[in-house]
Symmetry: C2
Subunit: 202 residues, 2 copies
């Protein structure tokens, strides 16, 4: 057996502190947690914010149903327990992205306050911003881009948030986003202004 | 009901292509999948690579037992099924980081070839690099930094890889890392040279 190099392996592994990491990446890791009804505009605004941040040199990434339900959460359905586990995993992944130094945007209905608070509890103070996309149920149902509200009204989708399942509004969201009568860009810039004001990005 | 702005919400959401994202972040998203025995040096080398990349302006992040078992995978134990689910989730999260444009390093024993191949299959060609940390079982057991081999030999840890559970060596790892008789820095620089050669970082 050759001389074990365990000393080397143990000693030379000194890593960056979290502060040094953020200094190196030039931004603060944080989570922008978008919540609201189906059709409220969560994903659309989040993706526009992501795009503007990336073009401005900020490392940002959106987690939403599109990239989560196909992979990490493909074993989960829509029962209350599965929805809670879905949001738990999203929170954990968002925490990892924030730990890495990214601006992580999540876009899920996330109707239960307890689930959102659990995600919040995983982040340091000031690094979790709840973004309540406050589009009214009436407006969302009027948009109904995927025809889901119609199906829910017809009883074809059980436990549909706002129709046959509850939505617990945030009580102290860091950002309350009005989307009705406003463009996606207006909404996106409002979110980015919040990040700047809080010193999370330059 | 006010005028629905669904057109705005739908139309203005044009997003960056994956190519434009990588252009914006200035690097190629990829996964460096470290595999090898307990004590082989996977985490230590991965964390040193991460540190050097960050200091060089590359967005990088290590997924390992420390940050996964406490959060995302805290519901999982060490049964074969749980190990497979553990690695499945790690693969999915690594894929998300790579999709975001990061260099994602994973450091798990990941003893089963099928599990590693499943993770590989989630990435585009050339974006998954298997790093076989080829420290011999004898050297790992000689190091035994956490005293785990001793416990395993004493029968106190069941299904311990290399002692009482199998390790399936990679057959075509992109990088085979010899650690015995070498420093952590030598190993880390070898990995980084591979990234440069492949054009994944500048």
């Amino acid at each position: 057996m050759s001389e074990p190099k365990s000393q080397n392996i143990q000693w030379h592994g000194a890593n960056l502190t979290h502060e040094a990491r953020e200094e190196a990446v030039g931004q603060c890791g944080c989570v922008l947690w978008f919540t609201g009804f189906s059709g409220s505009g969560k994903s659309t605004v989040a993706r526009r914010v992501e795009e503007l941040l990336l073009l401005g040199g900020v490392f940002a990434y959106v987690l939403d149903g599109d990239n989560l339900r196909m992979g990490l959460n493909k074993d989960l359905g829509f029962s209350p327990a599965d929805r809670t586990e879905n949001i738990r995993r999203v929170g954990c992944v968002a925490q990892l992205f924030a730990d890495a130094g990214a601006v992580c945007l999540t876009a899920f209905i996330s109707p239960y306050r307890a689930d959102r608070d659990q995600a919040r509890a995983m982040l340091p103070e000031g690094r979790f911003l709840e973004v309540f996309v406050a589009t009214s149920l009436e407006a969302c149902e009027g948009r109904d881009p995927k025809g889901l509200y119609k199906k829910a009204r017809d009883g074809k989708i059980p436990e549909f948030t706002g129709i046959s399942a509850p939505y617990e509004e945030p009580e102290a969201a860091e950002i309350v986003l009005q989307t009705e009568g406003r463009s996606v860009d207006e909404c996106a810039h409002e979110v980015i202004a919040h990040l700047r004001t809080r010193g999370l990005i330059k």
